[in-house]
């Protein structure tokens, strides 16, 4: 039986110590940097922090580099359209994950339709490059400072942003080669 036992180091890696839950992290963040947090939501065991647009880069940098948090993995970056009558209309969601501490956190930036600009986080997580291009392509969010903000899924000459709620399902024009 002793041969089948897992080595001690393996169990250590698979069950890392997580000193803080995501809601505790959010609370700590609100204590230390009150201006970074405009709202904290906890639902279904997930914690979401609404961050002002101007502070998103600082917050991401802080969460990635602080040893207690170590969010070294940007699991997803996606947009969301609440609908043309909503204000603010657009969201950008940052899904963070720590491969060393195994905890997750979601950051959210709210944007108005007329001023859909948000600073890029490509210098923090390089994987954000294509995610931000996708969000720009489908929602029309401009990521300031992005090294190569082009469409990534739709053709280069596409009109409009396809995942906005007011985009017609079949597009503005029927397909034609001419």
């Amino acid at each position: 039986m002793s041969e089948l036992q897992q080595p001690e180091s393996y169990t250590e890696v698979s069950q890392p110590a997580s000193p803080q839950t995501p809601s505790q992290i959010a609370a700590a963040l609100q204590r230390e940097h009150a201006d970074w947090v405009s709202e904290i939501t906890t639902a279904l065991g997930e914690t979401t922090i609404v961050v002002p647009r101007e502070q998103i880069v600082a917050a991401c940098e802080f969460l990635k580099t602080t040893p207690d948090y170590e969010f070294n993995f940007l699991a997803d970056l996606c947009g969301f359209d609440r609908g043309p009558e909503e204000e603010p209309r657009l969201e950008v969601n940052y899904h963070l994950f720590s491969t060393t501490r195994h905890h997750r956190l979601r950051l959210k930036v709210l944007l108005n339709e007329e001023d859909a600009h948000v600073p890029t986080v490509t210098m923090i997580w390089r994987t954000a490059n294509w995610h931000e291009r996708e969000t720009f392509d489908l929602f029309g969010v401009i990521f300031d400072g992005h090294p190569d903000l082009r469409r990534i899924l739709l053709p280069d000459d596409w009109q409009g942003h396809a995942l906005r709620k007011d985009f017609p399902l079949r597009g503005y024009e029927p397909y034609s080669l001419t």
Partner: protein
């Protein structure tokens, strides 16, 4: 083998036939498809060449890696608007004679994907000879389509499948450089402009757009 002996004894030394019959017989017996898989239908298309279905029985098993060596394009799956110019370019790169099989519901009509991203039928991009229904079609259906195409080939004339004249081919617009989503010509066809990307083959000029 003994086959030559049998033929030599059974037939006279000189045969007369129509040139169309002879050339079409040669063409239909070696319909080489271009290797061009688009979606899940491509899995069934690969299955067609497997030992169970064995498209080689009908002379169409050699999937060529280059469109320059291909006779048939099997459009196996949904064509996105971004892929459509690429597909048209591959079609233009195929030498005459060339045929197109539209495989499956998506390639034929857009299928369930009635949305902004998918071309509603590949016949908006290239002229189609045989349509196959199904989602995806069984390999037997693709074999049936190839056999139908062979029947169609036998009814054609060599004159229908000439290459485009050199002058027209040189002046053709470079593929992929034109706006793809401007649908104004659907409402009012522009007669003065040539078809885009086009080295239009003779059979294509007959199609209604």
């Amino acid at each position: 083998m003994g086959l030559e002996n049998v033929i030599a004894e059974a037939l006279p030394e000189v045969l007369t036939t129509r040139l169309d019959s002879l050339i079409n017989w040669a063409r239909k017996s070696s319909l080489w498809p271009a290797t061009f898989g688009l979606a899940c239908c491509a899995i069934e298309m690969m299955n067609v060449t497997s030992s169970r279905n064995d498209l080689a029985r009908f002379g169409a098993e050699v999937f060529r890696a280059s469109p320059r060596q291909a006779d048939v394009m099997i459009v196996s799956g949904r064509v996105s608007r971004k892929m459509a110019p690429v597909l048209r370019r591959i079609y233009d790169q195929m030498p005459e004679p060339k045929w197109v099989i539209s495989m499956g519901a998506c390639a034929t009509s857009g299928g369930v994907f009635d949305n902004y991203a998918i071309v509603q039928g590949v016949d908006k991009v290239v002229p189609v000879d045989v349509y196959i229904p199904g989602c995806p079609p069984r390999p037997e259906m693709l074999i049936h389509a190839v056999m139908m195409l062979q029947e169609k080939v036998m009814k054609e004339s060599v004159r229908d499948r000439k290459d485009a004249p050199d002058a027209e081919a040189r002046e053709a617009i470079t593929p992929g450089t034109l706006p793809v989503t401007d649908g104004s010509s659907l409402r009012e066809p522009r007669k003065d402009q040539p078809l885009p990307y086009t080295i239009a083959s003779t059979h294509e000029k007959r199609r209604s757009f």
